[in-house]
Amino acid sequence: MKRAALGFGVTAALLFAVAPLVLGDFRLSLLAKYLCFAIVAVGVGLAWGRGGMLALGQGVFFGLGGYAMAMHLKLADAGPGNLPDFMILYGQLDALPWWWAPFANPIFALLATVLLPMLVALLLGLLIFRRRVRGAYFAILSQALAAAFAILLIGQQGTTGGTNGLTDIQGFFGYDLNDPVNQRMVYFVVAAALLAMLGVAWQLMRSRYGELLVAVRDGEERVRFLGYDPANVKLVAYVVAAGMAGLAGALFVPAVGIISPALIGVVPSIEFVIGVAVGGRATLAGPALGAIAVAWAKTALSERVPSAWTYFEGLLFVLPIVFLPGGIAALFKWRRRARLVPPAEVKEKVAA
């Protein structure tokens, strides 16, 4: 328990004090992007690592959150009564489509970024888990959903921006995103959100519910015979993971300035999961660390070797899964156990 508090403290110090001091504006805004992926990863860690649901369609929830936020920001940029720029360019519309209208309200939009993905996950989950769809079938189903959602968005160019997505976002609730100071603020908001989501995941994992979730993962039928309904147990983790992905999508928009179908289709959905696998799916910090590591490696490799980086990236995915099935997190655990250091020293090491 003390260790967890210390872990949170160190993470917070790193995110709020060290990173802003060490990194320049550009690198800090990249870190904000990585942290958004880390928030998705925390949710995937919960659903997959703890609940055994291989959620290969998190892009859908990320996209719902991102589009909800971007729609509001586009409307705010356009000003009351005006259509967003891309609608004038591509659509033959006289008025705002009805489903855009409520997003002009900032409170509705903010709530929608999290609640909309959760609602969709709830409806889906009720259908899927009650029918006892699991394993590969669940993974394929979520994957198909991500593909379908991306195709739907691309087809509706006049109202969703099509393949372009929603870009050229100028303001964030009245603050000018072109100002580096405000970009920093966005970073702090993302970092705080990640810490909060880690807190939520930690609470869930430590609670009786968390034990039950692991039990469902390891022996669903046994849990059923004990009198619990595994469908409900899984549903909670799935909905929470969807909410986290939605929140991440919403924060991604001001941090990066764009949301497009390229971020929610099959490939990005798989990438979310790969980060979690690399980091160690069943731990608390592992998924977040893995997501950050993978996103950072993608940037670093593509800057060093722009013409061959995809091969290195592939290697990066294969090697940890073959040689380190527990992910990066397992590396730390193993070292700790091997050296049998007393708790006092652990504290020093982590603090260092």
Partner: protein, 420 residues
């Protein structure tokens, strides 16, 4: 659960973070952005003996096949300029980044080139989606992008120079050509994204005003290879020509289906605006011979400048590599930037822009003399209709006679009012 202390310390940290974030708030939207605060624009690093220029192209993903050739053409221009002594006495150092056919990645890499490498200009992007993704980045940082591909118009960014054709230099002349060739009805086939949809909007407005009939309009998802339905509809429509805005692989499937349905270039020609020499090679001349294309440059374009360009390109990258319109426009864009810098006598972005906006920037390009139109930051280009030959090259069958003034918003065409 959090320990008592743990919970408190976490709460304190989050509170500190939030306060730090809120007190650090900067400019509000609508504020006049002070130059000190939001940056007076990108700073070009001219301290060394070399000046960096950015190359932003997809080197991986679906667009790589096309964009790598553009990157090669830009590199050729940079090498030639360096061999001839550089720009203002400085050598050019190309920094290449991979946009990975992914729009957010394009935005990230554009920002990297501007703020980490402090490049003097960036050359690249192909799809309209990637251009739309990086446009705010260049505008925010006040940095320069040279965009080398024909596009759907209806855009003018103060920080982008468009060296490919806009609609009145490619699509409108193509329609004029079809009309003069006696084609009274067209069928529109395109990929489902921005360029085809916008292009078709323009075509329909043109057709409505000129008495041409549009007999149908169909879109296939990018990368789709299922065309039997569309081709059957085209055949049943009895149109006198097809206007094709399909992109990439889809063309292969479309033209195979077209041929096997018994449709020919003589009876119902297909005029394509996204098929250049490189694509002809991959689709196969047996399906394409006799079909029409609309561009501003072909490998066969006459002139000493083009002979030199084709020769240099083949010597550097291989005798079997064709040159195409986007490659030529990219190659030309580097020389146009050089001319702007030399006229300004400085690498400073605002001065370079001012020199270009004042007019008079020209270059004897492989496509002929090109002139930068100061106010719109587009380029005067000669429109050329070509016929694909059995050897895979494209022969010009018609040209506009002189370079056409760029008109991205089609303001000089009465039928186009209400389009933008």
């Amino acid at each position: 659960m959090f320990g008592y202390r743990g919970r408190r310390s976490a709460a304190v940290l989050v509170a500190i973070g939030t306060v730090a974030a809120l007190t650090a708030c900067g400019a509000k939207t609508g504020d006049a952005v002070g130059s000190a605060q939001a940056g007076g624009g990108a700073v070009v690093d001219t301290s060394g003996s070399a000046v960096k220029v950015g190359l932003l192209n997809s080197l991986s993903g679906t667009m790589a096949i096309s964009e790598v050739t553009v990157r090669d053409a830009i590199k050729l221009a940079v090498d030639e300029i360096n061999a001839a002594g550089g720009v203002l006495g400085k050598q050019l150092e190309p920094v290449s980044e991979d946009g990975a056919s992914d729009w957010p990645t394009f935005a990230e890499k554009a920002q990297k080139l501007i703020s980490q490498d402090k490049v003097a200009a960036v050359f690249g992007c192909w799809t309209s989606s990637s251009r739309k993704a990086v446009k705010p980045v260049f505008e925010k940082n006040k940095a320069l992008l040279f965009y080398p591909v024909q596009y759907e118009g209806l855009e003018e960014s103060p920080y982008i120079f468009y060296t490919g054709a806009t609609t009145n230099q490619q699509i409108v002349p193509a329609l004029d050509y079809l009309k003069s060739a006696g084609k009274t009805s067209v069928y529109l086939v395109g990929s489902d994204y921005v360029f085809p949809r916008t292009a078709n909007k323009i075509i329909k407005a043109y057709a409505a005003a000129s008495g041409m009939k549009v007999l149908g309009e169909d879109y296939a998802p990018l990368g789709s290879t299922e065309f039997s339905t569309i081709v059957n509809k085209v055949k049943a429509s009895g149109a006198s020509a097809v206007f094709n805005t399909l992109n990439g692989d889809s063309n292969v499937a479309f033209f195979k289906e077209y041929k096997s349905a018994g449709l020919t270039a003589e009876a119902m020609p297909v005029l394509s605006v996204s098929i250049a020499e490189e694509e002809v090679k991959s689709i196969g001349t047996q399906y394409l011979a006799g079909q029409l294309t609309a561009w501003n440059y072909y490998q066969t374009t006459k002139g000493a400048a083009n002979d030199k360009f084709v020769k240099a390109y083949k010597a550097k990258y291989g005798a079997d590599k064709p040159t195409s319109d986007p490659m030529e426009a990219a190659y030309t864009s580097v020389y146009l930037w050089k001319a702007m810098v030399e006229k300004a006598g400085s690498f400073e972005i605002e001065k370079v822009k001012a020199a270009a906006n004042a007019g008079g920037i020209t270059f004897e390009a492989p496509e002929g003399l090109v002139t930068v139109d100061g106010p719109s930051q587009h380029v005067f280009k000669t429109a050329r209709i070509g016929k694909i030959g059995t050897d895979g090259l494209i022969e010009e069958v018609w040209n506009s006679g002189q370079p056409v003034k760029p008109d991205p918003y089609l303001k000089s065409y009465s039928w186009a009012t209400g389009l933008s």
